[in-house]
């Protein structure tokens, strides 16, 4: 019992345990990635950064990986294309998710928990299996084409698979709950008296929506958008299963560098550039979440 007692009196332990855990599994690994991105692959192992000549250590930094990334048109194109798909996904999620979260927050109080659970439920059931399900729906002899052809809506199957259409659908489908949840949390706390006051003063509902509701839900919009955008940039599973040869995504390039080419330093360099791209969105997310916490 004495030990237990000391344990809970030791504030240092309450902070120290998670600190050590995350340092070991988040901070140190990211530093190691940076280190390895500056070395090169020697046969089956990564080169040593520090070599000893005449008893003196010499630091050998190898920037070749980065030079290659920025001079090779395909890498640059892939980064731009990843950002493009992440951006499109974010905008579509916002366009679908904002009205949805708004209507959900306005629904009768007693049905809201059920509506919320129905959003969460697909999120709980396997992400991988749901992406696979889209494959069965979208392929040329898939469920959607079969249904449309048997109804004589179309004569030839639509090309919906392994292109930007299937990739975008898969991304929007997977990330939509990440947009809806923070928006709902934000909108359900909105003080309705502002809207009543605006209506009393003769403001039209449409105008009140743009002048009051949207500005007050800014933190939710930003948090939701970043929660979609950041992981979408580096998404691997969806482009691998639903994308095609033309839908370039950097997550797949990293995977191939690592698993097919066995070039660990190159994979690390690809990762470092990706991290650099999402640092600003991550800072924006942290700020928006701090704001949501205050409210």
């Amino acid at each position: 019992m004495n030990m237990l007692k000391n344990l809970f009196q030791g504030n240092k332990l309450v902070i120290g345990i998670p600190y050590g855990w995350f340092l070991l599994l988040v901070a140190i690994p990211l530093l190691i990635v940076m280190k390895i991105s500056l070395s090169e692959m020697e046969a089956t192992s990564v080169s040593n950064m520090i070599s000893w000549t005449n008893g003196l250590p010499t630091l050998k930094l190898n920037f070749a990986n980065y030079q290659f990334i920025f001079s090779d048109a395909l890498y640059v194109k892939t980064y731009i294309s990843s950002i493009k798909y992440a951006l499109i996904t974010t905008l579509i999620c916002l366009a679908i998710g904002y009205p949805f979260a708004y209507f959900m927050a306005r629904a009768p109080k007693h049905v809201q928990p059920t509506l919320l659970m129905l959003i969460m439920l697909p999120f709980w059931t396997s992400f991988l299996l749901r992406i696979y399900a889209w494959k069965t729906l979208l392929v040329s002899n898939g469920v959607i084409n079969n249904v449309l052809m048997s109804l004589h809506v179309i004569n030839a199957p639509l090309e919906m698979m392994n292109n930007s259409f299937s990739l975008t659908i898969g991304m929007v489908y997977s990330y939509l709950p990440f947009m809806i949840l923070p928006l709902y949390a934000n909108l359900s706390k909105l003080d309705l008296r502002y809207l009543e006051a605006a209506a009393d003063l003769g403001t039209s509902p449409f105008k009140a929506f743009w002048l009051i509701t949207v500005p007050l839900s800014k933190a939710g919009i930003i948090a939701g958008s970043m929660l979609v955008f950041i992981p979408a940039v580096g998404e691997f599973v969806i482009p691998e299963l639903l994308g095609g040869p033309d839908t370039l995504m950097i997550g797949r390039v990293l995977w191939d560098e690592f698993f097919s080419n066995n070039d660990w330093p190159m994979a690390a360099a690809v990762a470092v550039v990706m991290i650099a791209l999402i640092l600003v969105p991550m800072a924006i997310l942290n700020k928006a979440e701090a704001k949501l916490e205050e409210a």
Binding site: L7, F8, Q9, V14, I15, I17, P18, W21, F22, L23, L24, L25, V26, P29, I32, V33, I36, P99, F100, F103, R106, P113, M117, L118, M120, L121, W124, T125, S126, F127, L128, L129, R130, I131, Y132, A133, K135, T136, L137, V139, N141, G142, Y173, L176, M226, L227, I230, P231, G234, F236, V237, L241, G251, L254, F258, A271, M282, L285, N286, E289
Partner: protein, 281 residues
């Protein structure tokens, strides 16, 4: 627009989104009972893919490995996630708090491929220096526990925030030691959050394919890894059968736990109201 047509529009929008979310799931389930080898062409109902599943030893051993990893990583996630939530919410000011909170959100948003690669490179360096750990169950477990900790911390944090801090204060005023406050007051109030954090991190681990692929060693294939390698090759009706079993189990667990949570909540409110009316007499 009139009030009524507004309502029709709102309900229509919500219905469309729910259809979008559930259409793939329903298709998976329906076609798992399809007799045809062609996944997308309905012939007639049968359970042959479920019998095929029972004989699929590769897949079954992967399921058992995944269940083992999911159980252990959920326990670890809840443990570390609770500490993280306490450190960030009960101690508002300490040096490095911002650092801890950003490290705790990193696994939530950072693309999986980066988390997987960085963990693997760290573990390989560790193995280089110390001779362990070997890649396999333990390394996958660490990856899943890291991801789970971040999610568990969010769940426990939201519970800690809505909890009445005055109960802790009252217990301390009545002479409880900090560890007694935790075991007698805070912990019992946290139990529903810990249960849902456990379920969430269990399913996250049971679902992960990217971290597992980076961290796994030869002979350690989790269920998602097997499904992923089959799905890459094409459509496969046994995947539909696995999916249906998984979806059924998860749905039942989620609904049961939400009933359990709201039951506990109601019971607590009733007891508090009772205690309050007693003290007023």
């Amino acid at each position: 627009m009139s009030q009524a047509s507004n309502k029709v529009f709102a309900n229509g929008w919500m219905l469309a989104v729910y259809l979008f979310l559930y259409l793939p799931i329903v298709t998976l389930v329906v076609f798992s009972f399809n007799d045809s080898k062609l996944v997308t062409v309905w012939s007639h109902a049968s359970t042959r893919w479920y019998s095929a599943l029972m004989q699929d030893s590769d897949l079954l051993s992967a399921v058992f490995l995944s269940l083992k990893i999911a159980f252990l990583s959920a326990l670890m996630s809840v443990f570390f996630g609770t500490f993280t939530a306490f450190a960030l919410n009960r101690y508002r000011h300490f040096r490095g708090r911002t650092m801890l909170s950003s490290m705790a959100t990193t696994p939530l948003v950072m693309p999986d491929v980066i988390v997987g690669l960085s963990l693997l490179l760290m573990l390989v360096s560790l193995q280089h220096w110390l001779g362990f750990p070997q890649r396999g169950l333990f390394t996958i477990l660490l990856g899943h526990a890291l991801l789970g900790t971040a999610y568990a911390a969010v769940v426990v944090t939201s519970r800690l925030k809505e909890m009445d801090g005055r109960l802790d204060e009252a217990a301390m005023d009545l002479g409880s030691k900090p560890w007694q406050v935790f075991t007698l007051v805070t912990f019992p109030l946290l139990v529903p959050a810990l249960v849902s954090a456990f379920l969430l991190t269990f399913t996250l681990s049971f679902d992960d394919v990217v971290l597992s692929s980076f961290l796994s060693g030869p002979g350690f294939n989790t269920m998602p890894m097997v499904i992923f390698s089959r799905a890459r090759l094409g459509l496969n009706p046994t995947i539909n059968a696995v999916a249906t079993v998984t979806i059924t189990v998860v749905t039942i667990a989620v609904i049961a736990s939400s009933f359990y949570t709201s039951h506990i909540e109601r019971k607590r409110k009733r007891e508090m109201a009772l205690a309050y009316s007693d003290s007023n007499q």
